[in-house]
C-alpha cells in the first residue's frame, strides 16, 4: 500500500503496523519518534497501530540545535 512517510509517498507491501514500517526502513532500534495521521505514538504503540493506505507517518529524531 502507499503511505506518505515524512512527506514522501512510499510503497510498503508487507507492513501492517507502524512498527513494520519502521523495521522495513531499517530504523528499528534507532532513537526516533513516530506520528501517525497527526497522533504522536509512544514506542509501545507502534506495534498496535495498524497502517492504512494514504496514512501520513512522520518519523523524527533529535538533531543538534540551540
Amino acid at each position: 500500500m502507499e503511505l506518505i512517510i515524512n512527506g514522501q509517498t512510499q510503497v510498503m507491501e508487507q507492513a501492517e503496523t507502524v512498527e513494520d514500517v519502521i523495521r522495513e526502513l531499517g530504523l528499528l532500534g534507532k532513537p526516533l519518534v513516530a506520528e501517525a495521521d497527526g497522533t504522536v505514538l509512544t514506542s509501545g504503540q507502534w506495534v498496535s497501530t495498524r497502517v492504512s493506505p494514504g496514512m501520513r507517518i512522520e518519523l523524527v529524531h533529535f538533531v543538534g540545535g540551540g
Binding site: 532513537p31 506520528e35 512522520e58 518519523l59 533529535f62 538533531v63 540551540g66
Partner: protein, 259 residues
Amino acid sequence: MSQDNLVIGGKTLSSRIFIGTGLFPNPFVQKEAIRASGSEVLTFAIRRINLESTEDDSILQHLEEGSYTFLPNTSGARTAEEAVRIARLARASGLSDWVKVEISANERTLLPDPIETLKATEILVKEGFTVLPYTSDDPILCKRLEEAGAAAVMPGAAPIGTGLGILNPYHIGLIVEEAKVPIIVDAGLGSASDVAQAMELGVSGVLMNTPVAKAKDPVMMAHAMRLAVQAGRLSYLSGRITKKKYATASSGLEQFIVK
C-alpha cells in the same frame, strides 16, 4: 557561596550554563566542549529523519549517558499549534518533558513571535510540560509568560547567532527585578564578557550555542564561558560599587608627603 544552585521545574542544577548542540565541527569537539562548559542542560532540535541517508545522524549517539537534562526546542515552528506538535513529539521520545518554546515568524531575524509563544506556553503548561519559552526581552511579556506557568523565562540578548551581546541591558535588568522564576538569557551572546554582563544583571543562567560551537577553539571558549558565568554570578552576589562621576582616592587625601 557553598550552595548556589539553580532550581528549574523541581530539578536542582549546579551549573548555570545551558549549551546548544548545533554547529559544532564534529561530535568529539562537541563532547569535549560540553564537558569544559560544565553544562548539565543540553538543547536539541526535532527534525524529520532523512530516509535517503542510511547513516545514523541522531545527535544522541554522540553523547555519553549521563546526568544531562535534555531541553528539546520547537525550532521550525511558526505558530503555537506547530510548537505544541513538536513538543509532543519530543516528549514521546521518553527522554524529557522539558521544552524550549521557540517560535520564529521572521526568517531574517528569527525573532520570537511573542503572541504565539505565550499561546504555546499556556497550552504546554496545561499538558504538564516543563516549559522554558525563548522570548523577546520585553518585561511585560516575560511576566505574562511567568504567569502562564513557565518554569523559567528565556529572553534573548540579541537575534540568534548574531553574537551582538545584550542589546538592551536595561530591559534584562527589569525582567530580573520583576521575576519570580529563573531568567535565562538565551541567544545573541558572543563572548565571555557578554556572559559575565548577563550574570551581573542578575539572570539565573545563560543558554548559548553559536558562540561556543563556532569559536576557533570551541573547547577553550566553553571553558571561558564557564568561568564568565562564575565570575559574573559572584560579582552580582557580592554587590558592585555604585558608579560615580568623579574620582575617590584609594589612600585618602590627608598626610601627603609632598605638600
